[in-house]
């Protein structure tokens, strides 16, 4: 139903004009702990990224080092070790999550303890990937498809191996694109502003990963997208802080997801 509700009337685009502006923010040094943690059903070294909030819009995140990080399912505990030291990224040994269990994240940072929990739900198989020729000559673009289940899809696209691109910097020959299917119904999503399109040449590799979303993970993403991808529509909504499942004033999210993935070469 929501897919049907997503309409974009061309007339609405005429109503407003958005331009870059100079703006002096009332910045405040909050220095809150930000957690990016994702545990999946893949048997691998999972990571937890800890940073602090910053005051400027394009400021590089400040890593949180020397914290104690662990994930538990109630019976087993996986300890995460910072690597390299000073990076703020903590890795576990090779572990995997399973459906039906609730996982807890524990962080001890300079004596403050933070806890979060999430539960893994299954993910439905992905539909075949779709891409189409772009308006830019000899380039293609992804055709995003909503999935039947709530999910988050990430596409890593690379064409650095193609002739003519070998010497280009990695950031101009690699793209990271995301697509979300949430079951919530929001006006700001229906009329979300246009995204900058990503084009890639024939022969590009596309690594596609689809993550399942628990109810609380969906709620988090809904609020995060309201403040990022969906912000600035002509039916914009009141601003507010993004939800979190972290305790004690930390922000971010600890997610546990089932993952399916595939790889495609653009033909």
């Amino acid at each position: 139903m929501k897919k049907q509700l997503i309409v974009l009337l061309p007339f609405l685009l005429l109503l407003s004009c958005e331009k870059p502006a100079d703006w002096d923010l009332q910045n405040k040094e909050t220095n809150l702990l930000v957690v990016e943690a994702l545990l999946t059903n893949e048997l691998k070294n999972h990571s937890v990224k800890l940073t602090h909030t910053v005051t400027d819009i394009n400021q590089k995140p400040i890593p949180v080092t020397g914290a104690a990080v662990a994930v538990s399912d109630g019976n087993n505990v996986a300890v995460f070790i910072e690597y390299p030291t000073g990076s703020g990224v903590y890795y576990s040994d090779s572990v995997q999550a399973v459906i039906g269990k609730k996982y807890y994240l524990f962080i001890d940072d300079e004596g403050s303890e933070y806890v979060a929990s999430d539960e893994m739900v299954p993910v439905a198989p992905m539909k075949s990937i779709k891409y189409k020729p772009a308006s830019k000559e000899e380039y293609y673009e992804i055709v995003f498809q909503d999935s039947s289940d709530p999910s988050f899809k990430e596409y890593w696209i690379s064409w650095s191996h193609l002739p003519g691109y070998e010497t280009e910097p990695i950031y101009s020959t690699t793209a990271r694109v995301q697509h979300y299917t949430l079951k919530s119904i929001d006006v700001n999503e229906m009329f979300k502003p246009d995204k900058k399109k990503v084009y890639f040449p024939k022969g590009s590799y596309i690594l596609r990963r689809k993550y399942s979303l628990s109810e609380v993970h969906q709620s988090f993403l809904r609020t995060m997208l309201s403040e990022t991808d969906w912000r600035g529509s002509i039916f914009d909504i009141q601003k507010g802080n993004v939800l979190t499942n972290l305790s004690m004033g930390a922000i971010g999210f600890f997610a546990v997801s089932t993952v399916v993935s595939d790889t495609t070469i653009v033909k």
Binding site: M1, L5, V7, L9, P10, S16, C17, E18, K19, P20, W23, L25, Q26, N27, K28, E29, L32, E36, T51, H52, T53, T55, D56, I57, N58, W156, Y171, T174, A175, R176, V177, Q178, S184, I185, V187, P193, D194, K195, K196, V198, T223, M224, E227, T228, D229, R231, G232, S233, I234, F235, D236, Q238, K239, G240, N241, V242, L243, I251, G252, F253
Partner: protein
Amino acid sequence: MATILVGLLHPLGIEFIAVEDHIVLRPKIAKSEKQSVSPPIEKPHGNYTLHGTLRDAVSGEVLIGATIWIPTLSKGTMTNAYGFYSLTVPEGKHTARLSYIGYKSKEIALDLKADRKADLSLEREISILPEILIEASAFSGSIEQTQASRVNLRPASVENMPAMMGEGDVVKSLQMVPGIQLFADGSTMFHVRGGSRDQNLILLDEAPIYNPSHLLGLFSTISPEAAKDIKVYKGNIPIWQGGRISSLIDIYTNDGNMKKSGFSGSLGLISTRLAVEGPLKKDRSSFFLSGRFSHIKWFVQQFAPGTSKLYFYDINGKVQFQVNNNNRLYFSFYSGSDYFSSDNNSAITWGNFAATIRWNHIFNSRLFSNTTLYSSKYDYNLFTSVSDNNRWHSSIANLSLKTDFSWFVNPEFNIKYGVSFSTHYFDPGNYTLGSGAPTGQVPSVSTRYANEITAYAGNEHTFYERLSISYGLRFSLWMNAGPGTEYQFDKDYNPVGSQKYEAGDIYHTYSNIEPRIELAYRLLKREVFNLYYTRSVQNMHLITNSISPFTSFEFWLPSGPNLQPQLGDQVGAGWVHQFENREMELSIDGYYKWMHNQIDYKDHASMILNPLIEGELRFGKGWSYGAEIMLRKTKGKLSGWLSYYYARSFRKIQGINNSHTFTAFSDRPHSISVVLNQMLSKRLVFSANWFYSTGTPVTTPSGFYNYNGHTVPLYEARNNQRLPDYHRLDLSLNIQLNRPDRKFKHKLNISIYNVYGRKNPVYVNFNKTELGNGEVKVPGDLFPSPKLLPTQTFIYGFIPSVSYQFKL
């Protein structure tokens, strides 16, 4: 001197009257042309009552708020909304002065030996001078006319104001009235004295208009051509009206010419309007029919070829019958709608409908009643498939019956009382398939019903020439009725149960008493001081967490088990001084307003298709205060006003902004409006409006963090900063194409909206990346984390327009 004048003028068939300090000459009125005065009804006591209706001499339209004043007795009265007046004075000979803004004042000689009916008329002043938007205070009449916090808008002057795309607009013109703030450019939503946007009641011939917007708010549904009288109450809403806690915009439409047929119209860039009027039976009944139809589609399609349909329209109609001397019937209706659709089979539509049947009855010379049956409806539809009629829709509707009595006991006591009964329907938004098939997992939101009984009684008590006090009580009983489902929530707003009610069940009630009192004291001959206190109750609440200037997916909910009535208490004081030359006025108003049970929304509230919507609401209190200063020049070749107003507004809502006080969206401390009309020649009037206000409060980040490639804002406080100050200059030139004495009148209006192209932002955001050509978009590639920049969204730039108006 009188003897000399009579001697000179009588042979020429001219008579004279003294109007204030002037001698006015006029052709002698033959006996048959004299005002209609019924045979006297002898009564054995010393006071007699003159009553009747005061009308426009040419069209027969009743005049609302005109004054009948007997200077020697310092007694007078005003016509009510139906032109009725009643004045009880001692037996004997008196001279009564009739006056009404825009009309020639007139004196009539009375020799009262009994009660009598006198239907009177006034002639419109043929003036080439520009009309001023806000009427002057009528110091020549009774003291009640200088009511604090009320302004009368002149519909004709709204037509002449500089306007966006040349579309004269009643709601947009309110921006120039001190104390009223438009939500933003491109919006018909407005805030009055720090109130919220749902706290304004717009009545069209006594029926509410729930959403006065066309093209999402670029224009309003209230066309000035159809309006006869517009009163704006910014605080002390009269005792016979209620239901909103901030303001009342009370609009009466044209009755139609009772004497001869005519038509008028206009042609602009956006729309075409045509109106016809005339008598059905001369001097007994009339009709008025007006239609406005947009022709904007071709223009939009140049820029947005995917637009398949785009239109709006308004139709106003009215018929009135004089049944007999004591009974008059009115039937009026308004229908307006918007429709946008695109090639992908989706569409947005909304529409208002309002209809009113009114019966005026004169029981006797002192008792007048009006009984009104009215109904209003507002529907909003978002079609996901036009062809299959699959849509999300919300609506609100009412059916009401009320009777209002005016008992003119004597010039000192004017008692008003009445009662009303309403039934209300609310659909907070549901998704339906045209086939009637079940919508699967889409949740169903319970529709609501409520009944409302109100009763009021009040008195306008004039103690003597200098002092009058209006006081009264209004009682409202709000009853939630089945069928419907209500949910119960715990203190953390989690649902803990639900209760289903059957049709006919009354499951929750609220009763409230609203005291209102106003004191007016004439300090000097042309100086009045007002003081008032008013309490208002609001049982219907607009639910939206949108910060968009455009009308979107808002819907209404009734007061109920989870939603208490909004209460408003306002105290205010006003002072009006008219300068000796009577061309200028200075007024100062101050107020303080308390608003209880104010509604806000938890962060990222889920508003659409949410059966548990009340769990998303948060409640608290609000307060506002301010002062409004206005210097007006109401006559002469140069007219207009300069106003400054200081206004603050705050909210304290549990769970919002850490439950701390924050500035309300309507808080804009400093505002200045300048309105000038300069007659350049007999046919040319130049108008200029300049408006300034402090920027709107906005919520901006105090910091950021990175999550999975996204730069996420972190907010420390609600409405912590302000958008840049708003200001705008509009100019217009009205060119009268005919001589003033010609029957066919036509003119050209050339307007420039936002002359210096000020980009007044409506949003500021921090989630876009620059494309290199000045265009900005949400980043699509998150590797590496994209560089973001602040952006501002604005609606209008420089907009020139031209429109042509005609009338016969």
